[in-house]
């Protein structure tokens, strides 16, 4: 396993670079990458967070995830551009197409990251890596970092070293010099909570963690502890998966542009979310046992409630009715800014078990199917429930692009 050559290709400030080069292609005079700029949501709609920042914006201490408002306070002449996911998906697809010329084993890890197995590559791997990096820059106009290692974990750690437009290696014999001196929170899967736990026991660098006794870490942090201990020692045997992992849950959420303070509106938003998640679950030919509803109130406090159904479902109505029930049981009546509906414990439709006691929903299934077909052919909003008319609420809420087409980051490499 350790003789593999794995590349991790990571687009430098992805959304921002893609936005910048798209604009240059359309005749813009200014390169967003060279000035303090961010890609950010619309503050008026309360979607105002920083999605990506330029390197000059980083110098103002602006970080991804903070509010656009606070970013503007740090740098009043900051340029804020709205996101355009379709554009980014095009750029990402073009990158993957280019990578496919080098290997068939490619794992699209997120919209701006990919793993490539170059073990059986034709060229010397270093040459291939430089060729990829330079071709992306010349043909597609943006820059990438490529990390090279004997497994995915080390490749990923390597691509993060120094940016932009660089290639780094991290092989087993380099771990001690290149990875161990880094602060422990730089290690993949070590978040703020784990960092605090580790720091408390005097573990500050990845090296400190790596040199702990295996049994000690296991007795302390159990399996997750063992995983990060293995990562700290550069151990990772996962394959470059060309096939995506099976979907485990489907969910949609929305941050409303106004606080929701009455039951009727909340129910409508739940209906709009249910419409979307149920369409998605039908599209992947699954049914779900568990429905959960989550809310975030205007004090940014979140809570959720879930329920297991006796019979798995993919019906819009059943999902909505369950969501409504869960919501009514938990909501305290305070203003809400975010609502979500998600389905989990998914089951393949082929194993659908008929039940004596469940009402006969064959007609409803046909109806859902017909609606899906109409929406597919004539657009998402070609048919919708009349309660949304003149309500100011979107009849379908949630992700514009299907998950399959738009892979998000996962905690599993």
């Amino acid at each position: 396993m350790d003789n593999r050559i794995i590349f991790h290709i990571d687009v430098n400030s992805a959304y921002l670079s893609w936005e910048a080069v798209y604009r240059l292609q359309h005749g813009a005079k200014i390169d967003l990458r060279e000035i303090p700029s961010i890609v950010g949501g619309d503050s008026k709609k309360r979607h105002g967070i920083v999605l990506a920042r330029s390197i000059p914006a980083k110098k103002y201490n602006i970080s991804t995830g903070e509010t656009v408002y606070s970013a503007l306070q740090k740098c009043p002449h900051l340029i804020v551009v709205p996101p355009n996911f379709e554009r980014y998906l095009n750029a990402s697809n073009a990158l993957i197409d280019l990578l496919r010329e080098y290997s068939s084993k490619i794992q699209r890890y997120s919209i701006d990251e990919a793993f490539l197995d170059y073990t059986d590559g034709d060229k010397p791997w270093r040459e291939a890596a430089y060729e990829i990096k330079d071709r992306v820059k010349n043909e597609l106009g943006f820059t990438v970092n490529i990390g090279i290692g004997p497994n995915k974990l080390l490749a990923k750690m390597a691509s993060d070293f120094k940016k932009p437009d660089m290639i780094h290696t991290l092989f087993k014999d380099e771990i001690k010099d290149k990875m161990w001196p880094l602060p422990v929170e730089e290690l993949f899967m070590v978040g703020p909570k784990t960092k605090a736990k580790l720091n408390k026991r005097g573990i500050f660098t990845i090296g400190d963690l790596a040199n702990l006794d295996r049994n000690y870490i296991y007795s302390w942090l159990k399996k997750p502890g063992l995983l990060i201990w293995e990562y700290a020692n550069g151990i990772d045997n996962s394959k470059v998966r060309s096939e995506p992992l099976p979907v485990k849950s489907v969910g949609n959420s929305t941050t409303t542009s106004f606080d929701v303070d009455n039951r009727r509106e909340a129910h409508m938003i739940l209906l709009a979310l249910s419409e979307k998640v149920s369409m998605r679950i039908r599209a992947i030919k699954r049914t779900a046992y568990v429905v959960s509803v989550g809310v975030k109130n205007s004090n940014f406090f979140s809570y959720s409630k879930q329920m297991k159904l006796d019979v798995p479902t993919d019906s819009t109505n059943t999902i909505y009715e369950t969501a409504k029930k869960l919501f009514d049981e938990m909501w305290q009546g305070e203003p809400l800014r975010q609502l979500s509906v998600s389905l989990s414990d998914l089951l393949d439709n082929n194993f659908y078990q008929l039940s004596f006691f469940e009402r006969d929903d064959r007609k409803e299934k046909l109806f859902d199917k017909a609606i899906d077909k109409i929406r597919d052919k004539f657009g998402q909003e070609s048919v919708f429930r009349s309660c949304f008319l003149h309500s100011g609420i979107n009849p379908l809420i949630g992700g514009v692009i299907l998950e399959e087409e738009y892979p998000m980051m996962s905690s599993k490499i």
């Binding site: 798209y22 095009n90 043909e139 943006f142």
Partner: protein, 83 residues
């Protein structure tokens, strides 16, 4: 870069060749420019967006001018890129 109105012909391979385009000048008056010569064409896919770039030559007001046109494949729009 301005979007422009264009008359073009297409080769059998599907490549568009610009012939004549119209744009508004400073006084909002339409002017028509005939493309006399295409010096070269080049396809680009910056950020994954395919465009064909043409460097062309025309006689405008009795002087030879060189300019660049762009055709965006995804939107079928023509642009005057540089003049």
């Amino acid at each position: 870069m301005k979007p422009i109105e264009m008359i073009a012909w297409f080769t059998k391979d599907g490549y568009p060749i610009p012939l004549r385009y119209r744009l508004a000048d400073e006084d909002e008056k339409n002017i028509v420019i005939k493309v006399n010569k295409i010096l070269f064409k080049e396809e680009e896919k910056i950020a994954g967006n395919r465009m064909i770039l043409y460097r062309c030559e025309s006689i405008i007001n009795n002087t030879i001018k060189i300019f660049e046109l762009k055709y965006e494949i995804a939107t079928c729009k023509w642009f005057l890129f540089k003049m």
